[in-house]
């Protein structure tokens, strides 16, 4: 399977043909659809086509995070107003004051009332979900799961340490790599070249390998921040540095890196 790279202004050469008549074509980020059948790339990236879901999207690796609905992010509390907290959503390169500001209403916590709301102080790290993303307005955050209305891991992150990774790496850590891997495996199967081309990494080997030996807590924000906590500071630092180093490594190299780090620990 060859990688298809597109540059701004390039036209997507072949669009997936819907298998059922009533499926609409889904055009993902980085692409713009011009009727009747032209899709133009507006960003540099790798094109992915999913025939089954009839979807096209671009996978790139930016440094600046733009909020979108239902993304889990790691944000920092700047201050509190009468009914909401003002948070900064930092990207991997931007310091907190130069980042996007977001609102986290006081009542956007599971079972929060005016009297029983969690108190967050300026500087706190919060793991939250984007509940409103609109390019014209400041994004809004929530600290509970949309379906179950329970915390599900969202809320203040106490202790631990936050590490920076690129946006592409953060997406892979959250499992997007697995989807792409499945797509590629399916494409190979269709071409009948399963044995060739070597192993395809899902970008998460580092976490799987670390989790087998060490005990730690981790939260990954789509804004390129990774929060790690464990009983031992040494373990926290080891996990963080392994994740940061594994950005450009293949699956086998990631495993080797973790083995080396564990030996030194």
């Amino acid at each position: 399977m060859t990688t298809m790279l597109l540059f701004p202004g390039d036209v997507v050469p072949e669009l997936p043909t819907p298998q059922k008549t009533n499926t609409a074509l889904k055009v993902g980020p980085g692409l713009t659809y011009t009727p009747p059948d032209k899709v133009v790339a507006h960003r540099v990236g790798e094109l992915h086509v999913d025939d089954r879901k009839c979807a096209v999207w671009m996978e790139g690796n930016g440094k600046r995070y733009i909020p979108s609905l239902n993304d889990a992010v790691i944000a920092t509390v700047l201050r509190s107003t009468s009914d909401s907290y003002i948070l900064a959503i930092p990207s991997s390169t931007s310091p907190a004051p130069a980042s996007i500001q977001a609102l986290l209403p006081h009542l956007a916590f599971p079972q929060a009332t005016k009297k029983t709301r969690p108190i967050l102080h300026p500087g706190c790290t919060v793991y939250a979900r984007v509940s409103l993303a609109n390019k014209h307005m400041d994004p809004e955050l929530e600290c509970y799961d949309a379906e179950s209305q329970k915390a599900e891991g969202f809320g203040e992150l106490k202790g631990g340490m936050v590490f920076n990774v690129s946006l592409g790496m953060a997406r892979r850590l959250l499992g997007d790599g697995k989807k792409i891997r499945q797509l590629q495996l399916r494409a190979r199967k269709a071409e009948g070249t399963e044995a060739e081309g070597g192993e395809i990494s899902n970008g998460m080997e580092v976490l799987e390998e670390l989790g087998r030996v060490l005990a730690f807590e981790i939260a990954v924000g789509r804004n390129g921040r990774v929060w790690v906590d464990s009983e031992d500071t040494k373990v926290t630092l080891c996990v963080g540095s392994c994740i940061q180093k594994s950005e450009y490594l293949t699956g086998d190299e990631q495993r080797a890196l973790v083995r080396e780090a564990l030996r030194k620990l």
Partner: protein, 311 residues
């Protein structure tokens, strides 16, 4: 008795500093009029910037020959300060600065001068049409270009012809800034690349300067101030190859337009567009190189790496 109110010189005197002479620029091997110089372009070299790139022309340059070296860094889209008025589009600012040591024979000041301001505005105009500013309301995108080294040819024009140094700087800056914009992942409709072409009249070998029969000027792509010959007129374009659109045109010198019965302007523009199209290939390769580095994780083989050279 020394005067306490003035700064006195040292009592024992000093000797004036003697500088080694400026080495003469070596003569480059002659190029064919339609041959372009090789470009070195690499992205993501400034860690704090959202996107950045470095351009060197020509590359590899023999020691002692003048080169053009530029860095571009893009910051943003970042929120505008609260004091800024509301803007439904992203506000793009481009700033071009010559480093004090960039020009041969002469140091430049730190304060922005008229030339730098003029080039900044042209650069901004060339880029703003390619970026989807409507996608980022209330934000600012800042592009900073630093000229680290330039080939000279920055003096004013005279009867002897026009100077193409500034045009080369502008074309390089457009290409370099586009690479940085693509590296930053900012949405844009197309990438802009810069190209220069000039009408050059070369003196016939062994001919008398006062010869009445001057040779007809020929279109030279990517002219260098070190090439020699009398540059009659020159043009620089910012060109979006994917959409076949010109975002910027700057011409210098005397040329005949179509309504005067000549086609010199068209020749120059076509030449500059040809250059820009070729430069776009280098731009694509440079951006691709960085992208493949990230994609390589999923294949066992690492692709890319090494210099991007235009052949």
């Amino acid at each position: 008795m020394t005067d306490r109110r003035r700064i006195n010189g040292p009592s024992d005197g000093t000797t004036p500093i003697v500088y080694a002479g400026v080495p003469k620029a070596k003569q480059l091997p002659p190029r064919a009029p339609d041959a372009l110089r090789k470009i070195f372009l690499k992205t993501s070299l400034t860690p704090p910037a959202t996107g950045s790139s470095f351009l060197e022309l020509p590359s590899p340059a023999p020691a002692g020959t003048p080169t053009l070296k530029l860095t571009a860094s893009v910051y943003g889209p970042r929120p505008l300060p609260p004091s800024a008025p509301f803007s439904p589009h992203a506000r793009l600012t481009a700033e071009l600065k010559f480093a004090p040591f960039s020009t041969p024979h002469k140091r430049r000041g730190y304060v922005r001068d008229a030339v730098e301001r003029d080039l900044s505005v042209q650069l901004q105009n060339a880029l703003v049409k390619s970026i989807k500013t409507a996608a980022y309301p209330k934000s600012g995108i800042d592009i900073f270009i630093t000229v680290l080294d330039c080939e000279g040819g920055l003096d004013g024009d005279d009867d002897d012809g026009v100077e193409v140094g500034l045009m080369n700087v502008l074309a390089g800056a457009i290409t370099c800034a586009s690479a940085a914009v693509a590296d930053a992942g900012i949405e844009c409709v197309d990438l802009v690349s810069g190209g220069v072409a000039a009408l050059v009249r070369r003196a016939p070998a062994g001919g008398d300067a006062m010869d009445v029969d001057l040779p007809a000027p020929v279109v030279v792509l990517d002219p260098s101030p070190a090439d020699g010959g009398q540059v009659v007129s020159a043009a620089v374009v910012g060109y979006m190859a994917g959409r076949d659109e010109v975002t910027l045109l700057w011409t210098k010198g005397a040329m005949e337009t179509a309504d005067q019965g000549g086609d010199e302007l068209d020749l120059l523009m076509d030449g500059a567009i040809t250059t820009a199209t070729a430069v776009r290939l280098v731009l694509n390769e440079a951006v691709k190189e960085r992208l493949l580095l990230g994609i390589a994780r999923s294949r066992l083989k690492k692709e890319g790496g090494g210099d991007v050279l235009m052949s």
